[in-house]
Amino acid sequence: MILLRTFSALKGLPVYEKNAAGQIGKVIDLIIANQTIHGLLVDWKGFLRGHQIIPIEAICSIGEDGIILHQAEPCVPFFHRKKDWNTMCHRQCAIKGKPLLKQNGQKMGLVEDVYFEEESGRMLGIIVTDGWFSDITEGQKQIDVTTNLTIGKDALLVE
C-alpha cells in the first residue's frame, strides 16, 4: 500500500523518537530536492538545535497526531541545506505561491500543496489554486507531476 501525504497534513505535527519517546519538536516545513521530498524541517527543541532537517528515511511512521522517527540522528542544521533545495514556505526558497506552468505556456495556477509517497518521498502531485473564490466554486486542482518537473526561481514547469 502506498501512503500518500500532503504538507498541510504534516505541518505542525509533533515529532517523536522511537526509543526515547520524547518529543523532539514540530514539523514546520518540507525539504524538496528535485522531485522528491528529501526530508522534514523540524523546529527542534533544545539548545544548539533550532531548525534541523530530518531525512525522510529516518521516519518510522506518520500518524494522525504525530510522527515517529527510527532515530533522530543524523540530522542537518537548516543552514547547511544544499543550494538547489526548496521548501514549501521558507521565505528564500519556497515553492508555495509560485506559478505552475505547462510547457505550452499555460498557467495551471499557484502552488498550494504537494502530494508525496511516504516511503520514498517521491513527489506525485501538486495542488494548485486559482485563488480563494475559485477554490470554493471549482475546487482545487491537482496536477500530476510524475513526469518531468523543473523548479525554477520564479515558476515551476511541468511537461
Partner: protein, 765 residues
C-alpha cells in the same frame, strides 16, 4: 679553563649533500665530509645543523660550534658560525675560480687571473673589479659577472662575522644581509639606526647597542633622531594614535635614551625641529605627527568636505515618490520598516554622505538593503548586474574592510560586494590603483563595518571617490577600534557635522534573542544578574582557567554531534599564550576536529602541524590571490617537495572555492583558525561562538572586546569561564580615546562653510 686556552673548535669540510634546507629561515641540515678538525671524533662524516646559506659542493667550509646529542637524530654538530675557506694557494685559487660557482670562467682564464693578480686575487677583484681589465679572453660581461658572484658569496660571510662581533645571532644577520645585500657593512657602520625602519625584529635598543659600539653615544644627533622617530612610530602603531603630544613624546624619548646621561629637552626639541625641516615628521603646534598620518588625516577632511559640498541630492525625489516606492518594497520583501528606519533610508538617499550606526539587531542590514533597493527604484537603475558592462559599470558599490564582511553584505543585498582593498585596486607593495586621478566609478557607495577602517584606508577611500557620489558609512561604534591608527567612525559621529542616523531600537529576532539582549546590556555597562541562566540561545558554563581546555573541547564535541561542522563553530579568545590561549586551544581543537589520520597528509611548520582538512585563517592581505586578512579557508591538499616540479612543499587552501597555493615561505601568512583572536574575528559572523572568559586574560579584558566577541555570534553563544572575569571586562571601559584631530578638523572646516547639520535629535541617545 682549558676550553678558553684551546683554539676555537671547528670542523673543516666539504658538503656531501644537503639533508634539509629552509630558504626562508636559512636553517639547514647537511652531511659533511670532514677534512680537518680539532674536535675529538673518529668519523669521517658528520651531520651539521644550524643557520647557514645554501652550501655548495665545490667549496670548503669551516664550521665553528660543538657536538650535541639530538634525542631523535643522534649526534650532530651544532654550527654557531661558519666561514668559507678561501683558498690561498695558486692551485686552490684556480680551482675555486674555475668551479661551477662562476659561470663563464674556465681553467685557462682562471689561471691568467691568478697569474696577473697574485694570490690575493679575490680580495683585489672584490675591492676593485677594474683590476680585471686587460686579462686575456675575459670579456667585460664575464668580469662583471665574476665580481658579482664573488660579492654574493663573500658578502654574507663577512657580514655575518662582523655582526656576530656586535652580538647579532645568525638569524638576524641573515635578515639584515637579505635587506641590504652588499651595502650591509656600509649601513651598519655609518647609521645603524636605519635598521629600525628596514628590518623587522630590530628595535631601537638593538640598533643603539650597535650605535654605541661605533661611537654614536649620548647626545649624538643621529641617536636622538632615531629615538624620536622610533617612539613616534611605536606609539602611533601600537596605541593607535594619529599624533603624539609634544610632552608625551619628549618623556618617552628621554626614557628611552637615558641610560647614563640625562638628555635635555632642548636637545630633543632641536632634533625634532631638524627632523621637521628634513620632512621626516610633521609639527603642528604641540602635536607631532608621522608624515603619512598627518596627510591622511588632512586629506580625509578635505575629501569629506568635497563630498559634503554636493547639493544635488537634497530634493532629487519627492516625498510622495519615496513613500510609494518604500511601500512597494515593504510588500515585496514582506517586511515593515519602523519609522526610524524609514527616516534613515530617506536621509541616506537625500544626503551626499551619511553615517549609519547601531548595535546588533537594530536593523543596519535591513536599512542598507532598503537604501539599495530604493535608490535603484527612484533613480531608475537596474539591480541586475548582468545589465552592465565594463564601459557602463554597476552604479552601486558595496564594500567592507574584510572579505567575510563583504560576503555577508553581498548575501544580505543580493549584490556584489568587495573588500575596500579590492575596490581600490590594491596591488600590495605597489600601492593602490585608485586615487584622486583615477577615481572609482560609482554613484552610490555603501561601506559596512567602518569601525575597522583606520585613517590611512579611510583617506585612500575618500580620495578615490568621484565628485558625484553618495556615500553611506555603516558601523557599530561600540566595537573594537581599528587595528591601525585613528578612530575614524567615532570621530565622524562625534564631530556632529556629518549627517548621522543612530538606530537604537532592537528588531532582529526581537523577542527571545538573549544574545542581542546581552550585547545591549554590556554596551550599557551592565552584567546581567542571570548571566549563567540558560536561555534559548546562550549558555554560560562556569569553570576555572585550568578547566577551559576541557570545557571548550566538550562544547565543540557536543556541537559536532548535533550536526554542526568546524566551519559553524568558532572559538574566540583574546590572547595567544597560556593554557586558555589561542595557540593551545587550536592544538586541542585540531585534535578534535581533524585528528591525525594515516590517510590525511600533514606538514610541520615549526611547532604547528598543518593537515588536510584543517581550518585556517589568512593573516595578511594578498590581493593577487584575492584573499584578505581575516578570511577563513580549509586546507584541501598538501603536496610534498618530492612530488612536484617546483620541488617545494605546498599547501593548497580553499577560501570558499578560491584555491590558493602556499609555499614554505608563505606558511606564516596563515594560522589555524579553530580558535582565533577577537580582533581577527571583527567583521565576521558565525553560527556558534564559543567564548572563554577567564582572569588569565586580565590584560586584554575590556568592554568593547567582550561586546565585539558576543556580537560575532549569529545563532548560539556559549561562554565559559569565570563570572567575575566577565564582570570585570564589562566594568572596564578603557578610555580608548586615541589622539586624533579628525573631529576638530572636520568641525573647523565644515562649521564655517556649511550650516550646522539639523539632526541633533538623532544624535541624542
Amino acid at each position: 679553563m682549558s676550553e678558553t686556552i684551546e683554539q676555537k673548535k671547528f670542523i673543516k669540510g666539504k658538503l656531501i649533500h644537503m639533508i634539509y634546507y629552509n630558504e626562508d629561515s636559512m636553517y639547514g641540515v647537511a652531511r659533511i665530509r670532514i677534512k680537518e678538525t680539532n674536535e675529538i671524533t673518529d668519523e669521517k662524516e658528520v651531520v651539521i645543523t644550524g643557520l647557514f646559506p645554501m652550501l655548495h659542493e665545490d667549496e670548503l667550509y669551516i664550521f665553528y660550534g660543538g657536538f650535541t646529542e639530538h634525542p631523535k637524530y643522534g649526534r650532530q654538530y651544532q654550527v654557531e658560525t661558519f666561514q668559507r675557506h678561501v683558498p690561498k694557494t695558486r692551485d686552490g685559487l684556480v680551482q675555486y675560480l674555475s668551479s661551477d660557482l662562476f659561470s663563464g670562467i674556465g681553467k685557462k682564464i682562471a689561471e691568467s687571473i691568478v697569474d696577473s693578480l697574485g694570490e690575493n686575487a679575490i680580495n683585489k677583484v672584490m675591492k676593485d673589479p677594474a683590476c680585471l681589465e686587460g686579462i686575456p679572453k675575459l670579456s667585460e660581461a664575464k668580469a662583471k659577472k665574476l665580481h658579482e658572484s664573488l660579492l654574493e658569496h663573500q658578502g654574507l660571510e663577512q657580514v655575518m662575522i662582523r655582526l656576530s662581533e656586535f652580538g647579532f645571532g645568525p638569524q638576524l644577520s641573515m635578515k639584515i644581509y637579505k635587506t641590504y645585500q652588499q651595502e650591509t657593512l656600509d649601513i651598519i657602520e655609518t647609521n645603524p639606526y636605519q635598521m629600525i625602519h628596514d628590518i623587522e625584529g630590530i628595535g631601537f635598543r638593538r640598533a643603539d647597542e650597535l650605535g654605541k659600539s661605533i661611537g654614536l653615544e649620548g647626545k649624538h644627533p643621529e641617536r636622538i633622531r632615531a629615538a624620536c622617530l622610533f617612539c613616534l612610530q611605536e606609539l602611533s602603531l601600537q596605541e593607535g594614535h594619529v599624533y603624539l603630544e609634544y610632552d608625551v613624546l619628549i618623556n618617552h624619548v628621554q626614557e628611552l635614551l637615558n641610560d647614563r646621561q640625562i638628555i635635555d629637552e632642548a636637545d630633543i626639541s632641536r632634533e625634532l625641529i631638524a627632523l621637521y625641516e628634513e620632512d621626516k615628521l610633521i609639527l603642528d603646534r604641540e602635536r607631532i605627527y608621522l608624515h603619512s598620518l598627518y596627510f591622511a588625516e588632512k586629506g580625509l577632511v578635505t575629501n569629506i568636505k568635497r563630498i559634503l559640498a554636493q547639493t544635488e541630492y537634497n530634493d532629487s525625489f519627492s516625498v510622495d515618490a519615496f513613500y510609494k516606492a518604500l511601500g512597494d518594497l515593504e510588500e515585496r520583501l514582506e517586511i515593515e520598516y519602523a519609522t526610524s528606519q524609514k527616516e534613515a533610508i530617506q536621509k541616506a538617499l537625500s544626503s551626499p554622505l551619511m553615517v549609519l550606526t547601531g548595535g546588533p539587531g537594530t536593523g543596519k542590514t535591513t536599512v542598507t538593503k532598503g537604501i539599495v533597493e530604493l535608490y535603484a527604484e527612484l533613480n531608475g537603475v537596474s539591480l541586475n548586474v548582468k545589465d552592465y558592462s565594463k564601459e557602463n559599470p554597476f552604479p552601486i558599490m558595496l564594500a567592507a574592510p574584510t572579505g567575510r564582511a563583504a560576503k555577508r553584505m553581498s548575501e544580505a543585498t543580493g549584490l556584489p560586494a568587495f573588500t575596500i582593498h579590492r575596490l581600490l585596486g590594491w596591488k600590495g607593495e605597489g600601492g593602490f590603483e585608485k586615487d584622486e586621478d583615477n577615481p572609482i566609478k560609482a554613484k552610490l557607495l555603501i561601506v559596512d563595518e567602518v569601525s575597522m577602517v583606520d585613517v590611512w584606508l579611510a583617506n585612500q577611500l575618500f580620495k578615490s571617490l568621484p565628485d558625484h557620489i553618495q556615500v553611506v558609512l555603516v558601523g557599530d561604534e561600540d566595537q573594537l577600534p581599528s587595528v591601525g591608527p585613528g578612530q575614524v567612525l567615532k570621530d565622524l559621529i562625534d564631530s556632529n557635522v556629518i549627517p548621522l542616523t543612530q538606530l537604537v531600537d532592537i528588531y532582529r529576532q526581537a523577542e527571545g534573542s538573549a544574545i542581542i539582549q546581552l550585547a545591549h546590556s554590556i554596551k550599557a555597562g551592565e552584567t546581567p544578574e542571570n548571566l549563567t541562566d540558560p536561555t534559548s540561545d546562550t549558555r554560560f558554563f562556569p569553570c576555572s582557567q585550568a578547566q577551559i581546555q576541557k570545557v571548550v573541547k566538550q562544547v565543540c564535541e557536543n556541537a559536532l554531534k548535533k550536526g554542526y561542522t568546524q566551519k559553524d563553530i568558532q572559538v574566540l579568545a583574546p590572547i595567544y599564550r597560556g593554557s586558555a590561549g589561542i595557540e593551545q586551544l587550536n592544538k586541542d581543537l585540531q585534535e578534535l576536529f581533524n585528528p591525525k589520520n594515516e590517510q590525511r597528509r600533514q606538514l610541520a611548520h615549526g611547532e604547528v602541524i598543518y593537515r588536510t582538512g584543517d581550518k585556517v585563517l589568512q593573516l595578511v592581505n594578498n590581493p593577487d590571490e584575492n584573499v584578505f586578512n581575516g578570511d577563513i579557508g580549509e586546507i584541501v591538499s598538501i603536496f610534498y617537495a618530492k612530488e612536484n616540479t617546483e620541488k617545494e612543499d605546498q599547501l593548497v587552501v580553499s577560501f570558499e572555492g578560491q584555491e590558493v597555493v602556499y609555499y614554505r615561505q608563505d606558511f606564516n601568512q596563515i594560522t589555524h583558525a579553530y580558535c582565533t583572536s577577537i580582533h581577527k574575528a571583527q567583521g565576521s559572523e558565525f553560527p556558534i561562538v564559543v567564548l572563554p572568559v577567564v582572569r588569565g586574560y586580565y590584560r586584554m579584558l575590556r568592554r568593547n572586546l567582550i561586546y565585539t566577541a558576543i556580537t560575532r555570534s549569529r545563532d548560539y553563544l556559549i561562554m565559559c569561564g569565570e563570572k567575575p572575569a566577565f564582570h570585570l571586562a564589562v566594568e572596564k571601559k578603557v578610555d580608548t580615546n586615541r589622539n586624533t584631530m579628525l573631529k576638530q578638523k572636520l568641525q573647523q572646516e565644515l562649521l564655517e562653510t556649511l550650516p550646522p547639520y539639523e539632526g541633533e535629535e538623532n544624535i541624542a541617545k
